[in-house]
Every structure is written in C-alpha cells, then in structure tokens.
C-alpha cells in the first residue's frame, strides 16, 4: 500500500509500474516452479499466487483513484511567465545593488586599511 512518503500522483503511478514488474516476476517464478522436474511445491505456488492476486488488486485500486483524480487537472491555468520576468529583473537589481555595496565595502576597507583620517 502507499506509504506516507509517496504522496504525489507521479510517485503513485511509478509505484504501479513497479508492481507490474513484480507481478511479472511472480508469474515467472510460478512457471519455473511448475517446470520443476521433481514437481511443484504447493506452498510456494500458493504464496506466489496469493501475492500475485493481491498486487493486481492494488494496481487496480490505485489506477482507478488516479484516473478519478486526474480529471481535475487544468493545464496552463495560471501562467506565471510575466511574474517570472519580474523576478529576473529583481534578481538583476539585487545583483547590481550587491556589486555596488561590495565596491563600497572595498572602498571602506581600503580607507581603513591605509590608516589615514
């Protein structure tokens, strides 16, 4: 099941993919066991099949939830390109002010360093 750390939609879907891999692996394991020349071990097969069914159910539940919640997404609703430019300009201003302050500090340091008035 989903642990608390997997709280984004993408993470949940990636989890589904991982489960599909696991399910394939289980199927392969069952087939290998059935191909056992001494005969398949019943416990092994039961455990694998139980886990297989559980995983399939998890996958179904997660996909259903994700499909339902995916309908609420509306792309490009709040485009922030304009404020992005504002921020870039602000950044440049800050850099500029910092460079001015740096120059002032240098002047002050040189002034004090020379030990004059």
């Amino acid at each position: 099941m989903d642990s608390p750390a997997q709280n984004t939609s993408l993470q949940r879907l990636q989890n589904v993919e991982k489960r599909i891999v696991r399910v394939l692996d289980l199927a392969g394991g069952v087939m290998d066991e059935l191909a056992n020349p001494t005969g398949p071990r019943k416990e092994f097969i039961n455990n694998h099949c139980r886990e297989f069914m559980k995983m399939i159910k998890d996958i179904q539940v997660t996909l259903r939830d994700e499909i339902k919640s995916a309908c609420e997404y509306r792309p490009f609703e709040k485009c922030d390109y304009s404020s992005r430019i504002s921020n870039e300009i602000c950044c440049r201003k800050l850099e500029y002010v910092l460079s001015q302050l740096e120059a002032m500090k240098q002047t002050v340091d040189e002034y004090q360093g020379e030990g004059t008035i």
């Binding site: 990636q14 993919e17 891999v21 392969g28 485009c79 390109y81 300009i89 201003k93 020379e114």
Partner: protein, 517 residues
C-alpha cells in the same frame, strides 16, 4: 625466402621427338571419388542390406494403403465404416506420457524465462522513463509543457500571449524536448540563439558614411583618448601611492572615489580627481530598460504618453544631468567643511533630490534648530533650490520650528548652481550670526551677505561673506570692512579674514560684540 614447389611431375612417356607425356591429372572430385573407392565398406554392408529390405517392405505397405485411400476417396460407393487405432502397448503409452510431460515442462520453463525477461526489461524501461518523466514534471511546474499528438513527443511553449499584440513569437518560443543517449530529458538549442540584452553608450559616432580615411582618423582619435585615459589613471595611482606613503610635507586631508585632497606645506590645500565621462552606469540602464518594457508589456493599463523609449530616454537624460548636478554639489560641499551632502532616493526615474546641511555650533541659549537645510530637487533637467532661513526671535519663544522658518525657493541653471548654493549657505551663516548677536542683545543690520555693527561716532564694522566656487582653498571667505560713513567720504578699510570655520566666526562675532558694547 619463399620457395615455389618445383612443378615436378612423373613422366608417363617421352617420345622420340622429345615431347613429354604426363599422366592425366585428376580433378578434385575425381580424386575424392578415387579415395572413397579405396575405403572398404564390407563391414557395413550387412546392416545396410537389412535396412534396405525393411524400407522396401515398408514402401510396399504404404503403397497399398495409399492405393486404398485413393480408391476410397475416388469411389463414392465405398465409405470408411470405422477406424480403430491399434491399442498402444504399455511402453508406448508410457513413452507418450513422458514426451507430453517433458513438452509441458519445457513450455513452463519457456514461459517462466519469458516472464522473467519481460520483468527485467520492463524494470529497466521504467527506470529510464522515471528519470524522463520526473524531469518533465519538474519542468512542468514552471513552464508550459505541451504534448504533440503526431509523434508522442513533448514541447515547451515559452510564448506569453499576454504580451501586447505587436510582439511576434520568436523562433525560440517552441522548444522541443528530446531524449539523450541515456534516455534522460534533454533539450537542444541551436548555438548562438540565446541573446542577452546589452546596453552601452556609443561615443559621438558619425552617422553618415565615412570614407576609409575618415574612419581611420576616427579610430585613431578614440585610441588616443583611451591611451590618454590610461595614462591619467597611472598618474592618479602614483599620487595615491606617494601620498599614503607619508612622504615629507604631504598630508591627505580628504578622500573619495577618484578624488584625493592634500595639504602641502603651510596651509596650501589642493585636490586631484579623475573625472569620469559623467555617463551613468550602463548596467543600471539595462535593468531599467528591461523593467519598463516589462511593466508596459506584461502589466497592461499603464499610460505612458510619450511611449516607452521616450520615457526611457528622458530618464536617461535626467540621470546624466543629475550626475552633473551631483558633481557640482560635491565640488562645493567638499570645499566647505561645515557642509554635509545627503542624497535622497526619490523612487522616480526622472527626479533626483539632495539636501545640504549646515550645522552651526550650539550657542549659550539653547536653540532647537542647530542646522540649516538647503534642498536641491531636479526634475528632468530643471533644478529647484529651496533654502531654509533662520528662525526669527518671536518664533524662538514659541519653541515650534514649523512656521518660523522662511524659505527661499527658486529655479536655477546648472552653471549658476554652485554660486546659488554658496550664496544660500553664506546668507544662512549671516542669519545665524545675526540671531546670535541678538541673543546677546546687540542689534545688527543684516544685509544679504553682510552683517553690520554700529560703533560709536557713526563708524561701522561689517562682516562680509564672499563666495567663489572656483576658490580651491574654500568657497566661502570672509572680509572685515570698516567704514567711517558720516562724511560720505567712503573711508574704507578692508581686512581679509580668510576661510573661517563657524567656531572662529562665532568668536569673531563675540569680539565684535564686545567692541560694540
């Protein structure tokens, strides 16, 4: 060394005429067949023969069956009544079972292998895609990601449709998202496609086309200017180094950026400064240009009137002009020790503002106002000077400085600014002295830049201020003028007092007061 095999062959015969006869040379196949013929197959012949006989018998039986089938097929009158399979022998049953069991096991094994391989391949593909889509989702938080129907690819749309209509989407607006060799998200931009805004000042370049000769001369001129400028920098550096090494007789009395004030010998003061081309900083202009375009384009509803570029160039012009104003103010203020210059941010690109403070020494009677202000405001290229006067006596007892200050306000030119400021300051000093005199009960006459004391017998003594912005020893100097005015005979004695500090002026005043008293 390589040796060819001698083409030696055994002779068969040689004829009388010398012609040689060689034995017939066998081809490769003939050689092979002759070698095979030499093998003795006798030991296998018996088994071979029995196998041949069995096959011949089987062939006969099959022919019979085929004939029968063909006859039944062709002949409608005869149909097959039934067919029974011969009952399998126990060992046949067992072997059939074993074969089918083995086949099933093999199928399971194949399936198992197929599932496991698929799982592995899917796992790798998922990992690759997780990186890609993880990156895509992060980008999507900040940029418009669009999906292409045609090839299942993605693009990023950088075009902002909230720009005003005259903006065209550049070819850079649509960025294609690609995969790199590791499957990770990558975008490729053609080189040299990104531009940053650069802003700079051109020299006074010729607009009309220049001949080669003129162009060379222009370049030569620029090089000379730069060469000269480099040398000036070196001179200034040298002076700085020498001055701070405390060589004999030279003291540094003031320092600012590109400005050095020295005193040499007996009270001689001089300064050296590197004068820039008084152009404002180009980076700040870049930023400002970007900002005003952005404000106009992205935040609609601002009425700019003369247009963006008009506004920008007016701002730039103001900036250049106000730099020159500042230079003039600084030149004045640094030569008068009791003046201080303060810059005020106006948060308006076409307005600049400064205040010049004059601090006067505290007198015995505590006066609330101990400093006088002269405000300089520049709007575009219009300078306005606002000077504060001294408080009058009535207001003094009211103890509120609000309505007791008279303010002079006037516009002026850049050229006249230093003189105007100095006159304003000098008149403030005179007013202050006037008040101080009144404070100790002495009545004086105040003129614009002159304070007159009446002595007995109609003699007058005046303290006169003289302003000169070019005076490098100090812009405000003082004269003592003694007049014997009764006879209208203009007997005038003048004594130059020098560039006095306010403390010295005050004690001079007190001396004069005691003269009167």
């Amino acid at each position: 060394i390589s040796l060819d095999k001698l083409p030696v062959r055994a002779l068969d015969a040689i004829e009388e005429n010398g012609v040689e006869r060689y034995p017939h040379e066998l081809s490769y196949d003939e050689k092979r067949v002759s070698l095979i013929r030499r093998i003795d197959f006798a030991w296998a012949l018996w088994q071979w023969q029995s196998m041949v006989e069995n096959l011949q018998l089987a062939h006969q039986e099959l022919s019979v069956i085929i004939d029968l089938i063909n006859t039944v097929e062709a002949n409608d009158a005869v149909t097959v009544a039934g067919m029974t399979r011969p009952k399998p022998l126990p060992n046949e049953v067992l072997s059939d079972l074993a074969v089918s069991a083995a086949t099933k096991l093999q199928c399971y094994r194949h399936l198992g292998k197929y599932f496991k391989q698929s799982a592995k391949a899917l796992e790798q593909q998922i990992a690759r895609e997780a990186r890609f889509y993880g990156a895509l989702i992060r980008l999507q938080q900040n940029w418009k990601v669009k999906r292409q129907r045609s090839n299942e690819g993605f693009t990023i749309d950088l075009f902002d449709n909230s720009l005003y209509d005259s903006a065209r989407p550049s070819s850079l607006s649509v960025i294609h998202i690609e995969h790199d060799s590791a499957g990770m998200l990558a975008i490729n931009l053609p080189s040299n496609s990104c531009h940053s805004l650069h802003f700079g000042f051109l020299g006074d370049s010729q607009k009309e086309s220049m001949s080669d000769d003129e162009s060379v001369k222009e370049t030569h001129l620029l090089l000379r200017e730069v060469h000269q400028s480099i040398f000036n920098d070196q001179v200034f550096d040298m002076v700085n180094r020498e001055a701070f090494n405390q060589s004999a007789g030279v003291n540094v009395t003031g320092i600012r950026e590109n400005y050095l004030q020295l005193s040499i010998g007996q009270g001689t003061s001089l300064f050296i400064s590197l004068v820039p081309s008084s152009k404002p900083n180009r980076i700040s202009c870049e930023i400002y240009l970007q900002q005003i375009v952005h404000e106009h384009a992205f935040i609609k509803g601002k009425d700019r009137g003369s247009g963006l570029l008009g506004h920008f160039s007016l701002s730039l012009a103001h900036r250049i002009f106000s730099n020159r104003v500042l230079m003039k103010l600084e030149n004045v203020v640094c030569r008068v020790p009791y003046l201080h210059l303060m810059t005020h941010p106006t948060w308006h690109s076409r307005t600049s503002s400064w205040t010049i403070f004059m601090k006067v020494p505290q007198s015995i009677l505590h006066v609330e106002k101990s400093q006088f202000r002269t405000k300089v405001v520049v709007n575009d290229d219009r300078i306005n000077v606002e000077g504060e006067g001294a408080p009058n006596v009535v207001g003094l007892f009211k103890r509120s400085s609000e309505d007791i200050c008279s303010v002079n306000k006037y516009d002026c030119d850049l050229a006249d600014l230093p003189v105007i400021i100095l006159q304003q300051v000098a008149s403030q000093v005179i007013r202050w002295l006037h008040e101080e005199a009144l404070m100790v009960g002495i009545k004086t006459n105040r003129d614009f830049l002159c304070l007159t004391f009446e002595l007995e017998q109609g003699e007058t003594v005046s303290l006169v201020a003289h302003v000169d912005p070019e005076d490098i020893q100090g812009c405000i100097s003082w004269w003592l003028v003694m007049e014997d005015g009764e006879d209208w005979k203009l007997q005038m004695d003048r004594k130059f007092l020098g560039h006095l500090s306010l403390d010295v002026l005050y004690s001079t005043l007190m001396d004069l007061v005691s003269l009167c008293g």
